[in-house]
Every structure is written in C-alpha cells, then in structure tokens.
Symmetry: C2
Subunit: 329 residues, 2 copies
Amino acid sequence: MAAPLTIDCLQYANWSEKIFRQMKNGGVSAVHVTITYHEDFRETVEQMADWNRRFEQFPDLIMPGRTAADVRKAQANGKTAIFFGAQNCSPIEDDIGLVEICHQLGLRFMQLTYNNQSLLATGCYEAEDPGITRMGKQVIKEMNRIGLVVDMSHSADRSTLEAIEISERPIAITHANPASWHPGLRNKSDDILNALAQSGGMLGFSLYPHHLKGKSECTVQDFCEMIARTAEQMGVTQIGIGSDLCQDQPDSVVEWMRVGRWSKEIDYGEGSASNAGFPPQPEWFKDNRDFGNIRKGLTDVGFSKEDVNRIMGENWLAFFETSFGPQSA
Amino acid sequence: MAAPLTIDCLQYANWSEKIFRQMKNGGVSAVHVTITYHEDFRETVEQMADWNRRFEQFPDLIMPGRTAADVRKAQANGKTAIFFGAQNCSPIEDDIGLVEICHQLGLRFMQLTYNNQSLLATGCYEAEDPGITRMGKQVIKEMNRIGLVVDMSHSADRSTLEAIEISERPIAITHANPASWHPGLRNKSDDILNALAQSGGMLGFSLYPHHLKGKSECTVQDFCEMIARTAEQMGVTQIGIGSDLCQDQPDSVVEWMRVGRWSKEIDYGEGSASNAGFPPQPEWFKDNRDFGNIRKGLTDVGFSKEDVNRIMGENWLAFFETSFGPQSA
C-alpha cells in the first residue's frame, strides 16, 4: 500500500541534495517552492534555470511539477514534484504578457504583493490599503484564464477580501495561520478565513515561528488544536500545510526577503533589531522528515485517518487539479 | 481523405488574421516562424508574448506548435501549428541556462549565428571563419540534450561543417538553396549539402528572391528542376521547403534584419543601395495559398506523388518527430 500523500505548499530552503533526500525520506510528494521575493522577470528566469539544473542533477529525487498528475507520478516513484511560486508580482514587472510566459515556465502560484504596496495590491505592512489596483484586476483575470493561482499570504485585509471577490477561481493563502490564535501581522482575520473558505479557497498552515503562538516554543499539540478549530470554522477540505520552512538559509536571506532593494534602511519585519535572523524552528518541525509529527499530532487531537490525509496532502491535490489548467469556458 | 501535408520551415511575415487565413486556405499545417533576428532574451520573450496573444485571438486558425503531434492535430483541425525559431543566438545572451528556458517557451530552432560572428559561431558575411567557439560547443551539446534544433542557414562554411560534425543530432539549414544553382553568399556549397545529408540533416528550399537563380524572375520550373537535382544529390528524404517568405513587411524590417544594433552604417546584405528593400516575390509564390504551384511544379518535373508529399511536408514532420524531444540516453 502506498504511503499517504504529503504536500507542503510553501518552502524556501537553501536547496541541496541533503534537503531533497530529506523530502524523499519524509515521503513528501510535492512542494510549492518560492523562486521570487523581489526578483524581476530576468532574475526569476535565472532561478528557474537554477531549478532546471537541479532537475538534471537529481532526477531520482525531484521532478518538475506542472499538473496535479505530476504529484501522483512523483508519489508513485518516490520523488518530490517541485511547483514554482512567486511571493511577489515582481516577475511580471508591468507586463501582463509575462503572466502566461511565467506560467509556461512552470509558475503555479503568485502573490499579488509581498508586505508592501505593489502594482497589483497592498501588502500587510502598509498603513493604508486602497484595495486591488487597475492593473491588479486585469492580472487576476489573466491569472484566472491561464491557471496561475492568486496567493494572498502577505497581503493586507481589504486587498485580500477583494481578491477573493474578484477572482473567478478560488485563491490560496499558502502560508499563514488564524490571527485569532496568534495575532501576528501576517496571520489572517476570521473575516478573511470565512470568505476564503466560502469561495472554495485554501489555507496552508505555517510553521514559521513568527506565525506560531509561543513562536519557537509552540507545541505540536497547540498547533494541531489550532488546526482542529480552523477545520470547524473553514471546513476540513479547505486546509492544508504551507510550512514556510526556510531551511539552511543564512540570515542574509531573511534580510533580502524583508528589504529587497526597496529600502536603504533595515526593516526587521516580523523580527526585531535584537532578533533579526531566522528564528529557530520548533523542535518537532525542523525539516522535511518531521511531517510524521504533525500527522501524529492531528490524530492525537481527534482527526480521523481520512481527515489527517486530507489536511496533509489530499486537499492541496484536489485544489491543484482544478487550479493549474486553463479556465473552463 | 485528408489533404496532403504542407509544412513551411521558415517564414517571417507581418503576422495578421489575413495571413493566418491564407495559411488555412493554402492547407499549410505547420510553419516555423522567426521570432528573433537580433533581439535579446527579454525582447524575444516579448515576441513570444505577442504570439500568445495571437493564439488567444485566433484559436480557429493557429495553435502553438511544440511537438510533431501538434502538426497532425493542426492538420486534422484545419489549423496551422506555429513553431518558434530564432535566426540568431541573441536570445540566450551569454547564458547557457537560457537554452532550456527558451525551449520551455516553445523555441524549436536556433541559428548559431546570423551573418556575423556570434558568441557561438561565424556568419556567412565575415571574412574569416574560425569555426565553432568554446561556448558554441557547450551550447550545441545543450541544444542536443534538450531538443532545440541547430540551424546554420546564415552561417559560414567552416562553422557549418563543424556544427554538422559536433552536433550529436541532425541539424537543419532551414532556408537556403544550393550555391551550384545560384551562387549567392547565403546559398550552400556541395560540401555542406553532402555533409548535411550524410548526417541525417535537412535542407529547406528558400523562395526569397536573392536566393533564386534569376531572382524575382525565377520560374517555378527552374526552381523545381533545382529541387530535382538536389534530391539526387542529398536524397529525397532530406529536403523540404523553408520559403523565407517575408510577407507584408515594411522595408524597415529588412534593415533591422541586416543591421540590428551592430552597425551605425547601413549594410545592404544581399541587396544594394539602389535596391535596398524586400525584393518582389516570384509571381507563382506570393503567399501561403501558392504552395499548390510548387506541388504542381514538382509533379511536372517528374516527382512521384509520394515524393512530392515528402518534399512538401512529410520530411519535415519526420525530422520534427526525432528532433524536438530530449536526447535519448
């Protein structure tokens, strides 16, 4: 009997053979990997070319993920299908034609904004959120047409609610938790979670310590109880994992994420001057071999085997099935 | 019974609905279209995005061509499959990673050079030809691995012979004629044609007047007799059509082809100061509805029906079948 499906809908590791082997050993059949924070189109293509080289170098461990069927193919062959995502709209610059070009190159998720105001929408660190822009409306329509998922993980509330409303296809918040559990700026209000669920969208639960109650000290039980409450609120079919695992990254990378090229001053984001680097992961989720701890935690808080499988992978797979192809007429 | 297959392995028209309808009316199931003369990667992507918009706008007339199977699909549905080609290596800039990226975006042919020295090889207008460069050898290997066809239509003799030798997969000269028939600088020596044929490569016969004996006055009989002699020389399976049709283009476009951004002085290429623009097409081949004239001409000079079908499309299709996918181990 095949091992149950595991999908992680957000990671940004310092990719290496070691990590790909951990994915294999952890039975992770698909990962949505970030390829862009602030990179423009040409720089994003460079990231894609780097991935092409990894696919060539490690064909027994990883494969390009383009469709839901690729997840099953990876699962059957003990590999991990890699799906590309951008955490910002910087790859499309000011050119709507790049939406389809990026999709042709494998992009399957794109955040409309990363923390700041973008050409499309407002990020969660801005003081004012005027909602989806003129270009934003055009780009959402184009993303819908082609099958590029709108991701609002780092967006502000009004923009997020408007994106849910405007998008003709369900959107995703790939990596965030309920603000009612832990009121981080990146976690999401009940209004957003309810609207997301009602529109058929997906929430991926984050394991980034700044998104966790108790941060690095959060227990697996506390995390899984939060999932149980969210399942009651959103429905057990609209939730999955989006760990936001940033394994083996030097702290210079979190600085790039936060500041990119947009500021000459340091912005500490969710961190602080005294705690500027990546926070330590909870000891029960350090790398791709630890998804079993979450499975066990979900079982322990009372989820059925079937629901555990949904949360750990089947829900994302169902979402992939309807999200990555052209919009039906 | 389906109409016989027609493939044109080089055109660079001023694309419009009118021309796509002429392709349909002419029964042309596949066209290799040029998207690059001197454009860099980003500019080439812009051309691809323009094509994406045409595919969206005219779904009943054209479709993206990626594999040989797409040709049969287009033929069955009365459409034209559009295959992208670059007449220069400018789209990959100095970055070997862009070979695969361009292939992912649909590029299926790439000339190693266009008239001048490039990073990869020497063009046919240079005084000296030192052969395939260091980067050229690496890029040919990568093109072979991925399934991007080496095209040497505008290359100098030594570089062309070396490309045939170095490439592990058959190459193409998509648009040129034998120099023994008309000694234009762009037409090819017997040494090249023989080496091309022996390696399993393909020659596409050009209908660009500067490549024709008698130029715009060339008769269809003369053209087809030249094909008959070349068939004897190269074998009837190694030849096809690559018309080099540049329909509806303003003369500014031929200037871009010839001079790009590489010279402040005008270079007239195959033209002259007194005849700088596009030359008029022979009256028997003005647009995509005229392939029937060539079919009839080939029959008239004695080709069997089967051989006419080979030359007009089946040979290119067989070449597409083995050329566009990954190299077998």
